[in-house]
């Protein structure tokens, strides 16, 4: 009896947990985070992640018509890409249909600088943002995020739906602003060139 008595934990195997997670993701209408899955499955977060790997392997592009994706800070099922055409014949997607250039710029500003108010957006774009913001709120891509501390203007942020529509795991997956160009020094140089050519 030199070995200590080991308690045999009757934890269900991860495969069983994976089946529970599949079920949870099927009934959910929005991405579920690991914490939410763990709470619903009454299991450990680490084991949930392990199980999610099993689910991801099973529901992968090319393997199944349903695909597990990490999106908007959680996990969700979507249709596989090869079924997109068929899905498109069945459903319309009004949320992202006909997003104007102004709407996309506004989304970009809120995604990078948010939460920010309509005056903040107008400052960057140089035109009033009221109707664009109202339209994006109606589409569910922007949502109110309280009021600013100084002026008390309503501030907006992007919604999880925005991340989902654009297939972003989180806002951190947006490209870095510095990588997008728009170097102030370079613009300055060009402005001066223009001024010089005018003066000449």
């Amino acid at each position: 009896m030199d070995r200590p008595l080991r308690l045999v934990q009757a934890a269900p195997p991860v495969t069983q947990l994976a089946r529970v997670i599949e079920a949870l993701l099927v009934v959910a209408s929005q991405p579920l985070s690991v914490e939410e899955l763990a709470a619903a499955a009454a299991d450990d977060a680490a084991r949930v992640e392990e199980a999610l790997q099993l689910v991801a392997a099973r529901f992968a592009e090319g393997e199944s018509g349903i695909v597990l994706e990490h999106v908007a800070g959680g996990y969700a099922f979507r249709a596989s890409r090869d079924a997109a055409e068929a899905c498109g014949r069945l459903f319309e997607r009004p949320v992202e249909r006909g997003l104007s250039q102004a709407a996309l710029e506004t989304l970009a500003i809120v995604a990078y600088l948010g939460p920010c108010s309509r005056p903040d957006i107008a400052r960057v774009r140089g035109v009033a943002a009221d109707s664009v913001v109202a339209n994006l709120v109606e589409r569910g891509l922007l949502a109110e995020a309280g009021r600013s501390d100084d002026a008390g203007a309503i501030e907006y942020r992007t919604t999880p739906l925005f991340e989902r529509i654009f297939g972003l795991g989180s806002l951190a997956e947006l490209p870095r602003l510095d990588d997008l160009g728009g170097d102030a020094a370079e613009i300055r140089k060009r402005l001066e060139q223009i001024a010089a050519s005018r003066g000449a």
């Binding site: 099922f77 996309l104 919604t159 402005l191």
Partner: protein, 266 residues
């Protein structure tokens, strides 16, 4: 000159463009109230009515409308104007470049989003009725429930019923005094009206007096008063002795006796 003379019909102003300009310059009209787009549209409409375009006209209009726009912009953002006015030309150029750079980055980000949308266009997923976004909490000032309860308690007490006693003037029935005097007269041959009704309210005394007149009219009593305001003495006329029927049918007898009484008193 078309540019100055064409007539405007705006919400805030009606008249030639020229007048609008001078009113604005004399600070008699707030530019904030003027929709400059409508001015431009009106000008373009006038222009379209003409066969050929007068470049000088157009040039003048452009200069005027752009200075109006600048004035309006300064009016709308006075703080920013101050802020920018304080800047040295060098700093102003820096600020302008910074803002342009910011906008350019946002345009690039929007382009990235457009590409992303095109690339992710074939992703289909189920959309729930309620997005995940939690509703923003509307903050309330700190509340004191005890104060609210106190205020409501004060409201919950039913108000006192308003007394209408002063409005009612109740007349006791004459019959009440008829009965009373008859019973008094059954015991005594005569009584003093004033002592009998002493202590009663004025209304009751008046009704009692009516009853007395009624009794006299019926010939049941005889009234005496020594002088005005002197006590009224009431004495019984013994009808039962004169007519037995009086006890059983006093009203009929009263009517009958009334005539004799009148004759006697007259």
């Amino acid at each position: 000159m078309l540019a100055r003379e064409f007539v405007l019909d705006l919400d805030a102003f009606e008249g030639p463009f020229d007048l609008l300009l001078s009113l604005v310059l004399r600070d008699e009209l707030e530019l904030v109230d003027i929709d400059l787009v409508e001015v431009v549209v009106a000008f373009v409409e006038r222009l379209a009515e003409r066969d050929e375009i007068d470049l000088e006209d157009c040039g003048e209009f452009l200069v005027l409308i752009s200075s109006l726009l600048e004035l309006k912009a300064r009016g709308l953002f006075p703080d920013e104007a101050d802020e920018l006015a304080e800047l040295e030309p060098e700093e102003a150029a820096e600020e302008l470049a910074r803002r342009l750079a910011e906008y350019r980055r946002m345009k690039a980000a929007a382009a990235w989003l457009t590409d992303r949308l095109a690339a992710e266009g074939d992703r289909f997923f189920r959309l729930g009725p309620a997005p995940l976004a939690p509703r923003p909490e509307r903050k309330l000032a700190p509340q004191a429930p005890a104060l609210l309860a106190e205020a409501l308690r004060a409201l919950a007490i039913p108000p006192k019923a308003v007394s209408l006693r002063h409005m009612e003037l109740r007349f006791p029935p004459v019959s009440q005094f008829l009965d009373r005097f008859r019973s008094v007269l059954a015991r005594r041959r005569r009584f003093d009206f004033d002592t009998e009704v002493a202590g009663l309210p004025r209304v009751d005394q008046a009704v009692a007096f009516l009853a007395l007149l009624e009794l006299r009219k019926a010939g049941e009593v005889e009234l005496e008063q020594g002088a005005p305001f002197a006590p009224i003495r009431v004495s019984r006329l013994d009808l039962s002795l004169e007519d037995d029927a009086a006890a059983t049918a006093p009203a009929a007898v009263a009517a009958q006796e009334g005539t004799t009484w009148t004759a006697r008193s007259a």
